[in-house]
Symmetry: C2
Subunit: 323 residues, 2 copies
């Protein structure tokens, strides 16, 4: 029977729900002896997974519980097939993206500060670090306290399953959507990455949701920040290295843009890093997909792949085939 | 020609866009002499509007720029017709509601605290005031860092134009919607207010978006908080007096519920009020509708009413007719 290793912290009840004819091997975090398994479901925390790997023997297939698998090839080498959890975290990741956009447009960081000060005041009485950085030459009365998402233009960089889910969730807000992906497509129009710089000046909101690869490293660097409109909102729900952190810190400190990040480069972000204290920033510590549905959704995707593997059918979510 | 008084702080360019055959009379905040006008567009801040009123003569029609008009009848008396800005702020108010729901489900207040501490940590390492108050007996690995909106049940109390807009915006999140209004309806099912208590136990999210009237005062009081599920999220985008503040403070302090409020009772909330320091609360100072689109949207609604008034047609947004 196929031996499938999984992190012992995951409830075995969840695995049994899938009723697969495999032998489930729980791999404890402090594993200190060799274990023979055929298929490895690594711990979603890479540091834990990497500690386990030297004790594993016979692994032919890795089924990641995450969408991003960038650390795996370097650890397991070329003779193992790697699949990701394609689709499992679409809803949670897309929801975080919409939530983060709203938190910044509605100026919730400011209003939380006001709430904690315990004094009823509004944006025009707020500390200087909350001065508006958007371009709006018109006089306003009553004063502007927050912004509307409806009617804005959003650029989705990486138009895969999660990018499409984000577009679906933005639908009721009448957002004009621009799409960029590795390969151009039609119906709807998806522009190639080579058009990115031409599209950035229209992006009031720029959403990064593309895989971290050699080609996407620092895709958003000084020239790209310079092309964004004044006060634009950059949302990174992808991976930290897609953005140049130095250029991001510069753009935030200069009051050029706003940003919402669930990922950073480096990660974890060390104490004292300048990003922590940048203005117009919401930073969450890589938690977007970590909802109560995480394990069940990711294991359902892995179980589907296992069924196909046992039946000798082609796998669906291969991100790197064994050589 | 009809004389229409408006707050001088509002840009006259906005008014001219409507090309109405009326005489626009700018009313400065410090007005100290009597002015004869036929129609009054009061300042959206009631304290300013109330200061102006004693100097106005001849007013037959009040066109409010807001949806809520609760202070107006007591000030202008029974011989003036009062219209509200029905529909003008639907998008902004509904957006705030969705944004506030997301801010609490994604635990952004916690993550902003973590960001400001400058130490990369996650929810399981968070201060005790952020302990989860939701009911979830299952063990979770990886640990739960935030929640999903998708799949939750939301009760919309007040199913008017803004309530419908909120439902439209929740559509992509596959939220089960329960609706309550003054009068029951079918297609979709709208329950009467008398069914409120029977519906509250199902409301993971309870959204208040109904007018403040004698009947709705303290509609949500101790018995209603007791009926909500453990960890439910109460959202008040209506008016403060719809909720008993004492009962709300009790429920928050007891860790029974979470809340997002754009309105309070009293308002403004005084310094030292216990609500300021309640846990599991997001409080914004009555800003939901104050977007850059506020004045243009509200004046467009008022201009429509003015056209009908001049043409002798029935008005559409009368909330209290003159006797």
């Amino acid at each position: 029977m196929l031996r499938v290793g999984y992190p012992s912290a995951i409830s075995v009840d969840l695995l049994r729900d899938f009723a697969l004819e495999v032998e489930w091997i729980a791999l404890p975090d402090g594993l200190d002896h060799q274990i023979k398994i055929d298929v490895w479901i690594p711990d979603p925390y890479p540091t834990r997974a990497i500690r386990i790997w030297p004790h594993l023997r016979g692994v032919r297939l890795v089924l990641s519980l995450l969408a991003g698998t960038e650390w795996i090839p370097g650890v397991v080498g070329p003779h193992v097939t790697i699949c990701n959890a394609h689709g499992a975290h679409n809803v949670a990741t897309a929801e975080w993206t919409v939530a983060a956009i709203f938190a910044l447009l509605k100026h919730f960081p400011l209003y939380l500060d006001i709430q904690r000060s315990g004094i009823w005041k509004r944006r025009f009485e707020a500390p200087a670090q909350y001065a508006s950085i958007t371009q709006d030459p018109r006089p306003h009365y009553p004063p502007v306290m927050l912004e509307e998402l409806s009617g804005k233009t959003a650029l989705i960089v990486g138009y895969g399953a999660i990018g499409k889910e984000i577009e679906r969730m933005l639908e009721p807000f009448r957002v004009e959507i621009l799409r960029v992906a590795r390969t151009a497509r039609a119906l709807p129009t998806v522009y190639p990455v080579s058009d990115l710089n031409a599209l950035l000046p229209r992006a009031e909101i720029a959403i990064l949701i593309l895989p971290a690869t050699a080609e996407t490293q620092r895709l958003i660097d000084r020239p790209q920040f310079a092309l964004l409109p004044q006060g634009a909102l950059l949302v990174n729900a992808a991976r930290g290295p897609v953005v140049s952190t130095d250029a991001l810190v510069e753009a935030l400190r200069a009051g050029r843009i706003r940003a919402a990040l669930d990922v950073t480069d480096p990660e974890p972000l060390p104490e004292g890093h300048p990003l922590w204290s940048c203005p117009n920033l919401l930073l969450t510590p890589h938690v977007a997909a970590s909802s109560p549905q995480f394990a069940a959704n990711a294991l359902r995707t892995a179980a589907g792949e296992l069924c196909r593997y046992m039946a000798g059918e082609p796998l669906r979510n291969v991100v790197r085939a064994a050589v």
